[in-house]
Symmetry: C2
Subunit: 363 residues, 2 copies
């Protein structure tokens, strides 16, 4: 069973990755015995996987109960969070109780934030059921809800005590969400692992066909990267920023089109290609490099051309997303394939050019 | 200028105690220069002290703005918290911005929790203006809001980066609140400092007459105790429980009468005497010890007789307040004046007897 250890001292924890973990009591900690366990899930995931989680919990002697929330980013707000608090209080949960987040990124972010705040902090287990959550949001302790004036504005750093990644849950994931998660997997190759990038090029077809052995390997390698970066920079004050390759461009796409039109991973895919294009303008990547990135994203059924919002609108949205230093945007670029850097080298004109080259209208 | 250093490693901070700190730019950190600073206060405190804080902040080059909330525990909820988030977002505050809590315990708890959650954590300065907040809630990093089903149920441990205790603010504190704060000051003497207890006996009259030199000394010694306890047990897993002397009895009084009828410090005063009475039953304190505690509380104009809710009702409320271990209540008792212990030694019958001896009906 592939395991990644997140070496955060007294907040250290393990990520177990494999097939059938949710249904196998062997993977559920014995310390849950006798404890109240809130399983927080949503109306889409609960009918598929709640039963096996509850059965495993009963098998280790825990006292589980379910909190099933409506599905979707629109519900990642205080009102829904409060439904979790209501349930925890009605069941008389204490600091020694445990909260399990069973679902994708929204459930993980919201469940984790509830666990961070309930009685100033209760134990928390992530059981991510989407590829995106498995390789990104379930690892690293970032939790949050949205505020009407900004996404993820209210939250906490609260590390889980355990992450169980059951690859079997990917069998029910819509194809478009599999692709969106794959964008973040490819990102790890682009920012810090040329060998992994080559492996993804060799295996993308079988990954997209949901070969579970290969998916296990891909998730394992992605989680190992995420864990290394988080350990180096738990509170996102430095190196963790490299994880944002393509994200400043991507956020502009998401905001410009209205949230939910493109999935986050889709916007990141097009955004990574914009960042690659800009890196080529800086003289750091070749035309052949750009083509490789493009081919890999296409193999993962991801969009490579961005919507034409107009370069000025992109820049405006990007300036709003990121702090501007001395009038220059601080972006994550690629000094080579497999090596990301934080850079303020590009001028607004150069950024605009990269955007224009990568948007539909320029085709 | 008396200063207490709270030695929490990378979360270490200083508590400065003196007269006129709020109005003196010398005590405001230079690192605030150029930064957005949200001063969170309430409708009672803002007209008295907001102006001098803003003036000092402008003097060090900060960019302050005020968030003035309604006064009172009834407003320590999500709706009011959200008004802080709205203001922070409207002003485009970032993680590098600072939030200052200017007020008593409610403002400190709520402002601290807002700072803990905003963009997953922003810097936070406590400027407590009540004696209770100065010696208790502003030190130690406990922040929270209330939930309809329980007080302080939703919160975070979030240490301030600085605490500025301006003794001059006590000049406007209502007498009843001065007494309530003094209950917590006396508590430090009772649980761990016989010398301080004697000092308080010698000086209570002048303290209650608001001698600022003596108040500075009392707050300094109280904060030093709180800091030592917090450093030993930041997350309240052990020794920090000793700070709850009188609190389990006191919470029963507060809940039994309905919140707000007695001030927290008043309930704690009567509760500490119940705990002392029970400690005497255990053979740990003498009748003379009890009288000393009683006299000191009376000198601070605090109630020593508790309301007659009936001993059974007290026990019911206390069992609800505290986890029961093997059928016995875990209480903070005094093995001697100046030395508190965590004890399950008392039976329900013994606790009931102590309650009866200390309630009005038995007079």
């Amino acid at each position: 069973m592939p395991t990644v250890d997140v070496a955060l001292g007294e907040r250290a924890y393990s990520i177990h990755i494999g097939r059938g973990l949710l249904a196998d009591p062997a993977y559920w900690p014995a310390r849950l015995s006798g404890r109240l366990v809130a399983v927080v899930s949503n109306e889409t995931v609960a009918p598929l996987y709640l039963h096996r989680v509850q059965k495993s919990l009963l098998a280790v002697g825990a006292k589980p109960f379910a909190v099933v929330l409506p599905d979707g980013e629109a519900h990642k707000n205080w009102q829904t969070l409060n439904r979790i608090f209501d349930a925890l209080l009605e069941r008389h949960c204490e600091r020694g109780s445990t909260l399990i987040a069973l679902g994708g990124g929204v459930i993980g972010d919201m469940g984790g934030f509830a666990a961070a705040c309930y009685q100033r902090g209760m134990a928390f287990i992530q059981t991510p059921t989407t590829l995106l959550a498995q390789v990104d949001s379930s690892v690293g302790g970032k939790t949050a809800i949205n505020h009407p004036l900004g996404k993820n504005m209210i939250g906490a750093f609260h590390q889980p005590s355990l992450v169980l990644v059951d690859i079997a849950t990917l069998s029910t994931l819509p194809q478009r969400e599999l692709s969106a998660g794959m964008a973040e997997v490819i990102k790890y190759g682009l920012i810090r692992d040329m060998d992994f990038l080559c492996w993804l090029e060799d295996n993308m077809q079988r990954l997209m066909a949901r070969d579970e052995t290969l998916l296990t390997e891909a998730v394992y390698r992605a989680c190992r990267h995420k864990a290394e970066i988080v350990v180096a920079d738990e509170r996102e004050q430095g190196a963790r920023a490299l994880l944002n390759l393509g994200h400043t461009f991507g956020h502009a796409i998401e905001t410009g089109l209205g949230y939910g039109v493109w999935l986050h991973g889709e916007a990141v895919a097009a955004g990574m290609l914009m960042a690659a294009r800009l890196s080529a303008q800086m003289g750091w990547l070749s035309a052949a490099d750009i083509s490789r990135v493009e081919r890999l994203l296409i193999a993962a059924a991801l969009p490579v051309r961005a919507p034409d919002l107009g370069a000025e609108r992109y820049l405006e949205l990007m300036r709003h997303d990121k702090k501007v230093h001395n009038g220059r945007l601080r972006l994550i670029l690629l000094s080579a394939l497999g090596n990301a850097v934080i850079s303020e080298a590009a001028s607004a004109a150069e950024i605009a050019e990269a955007i224009r080259e990568q948007t539909d209208a320029t085709r």
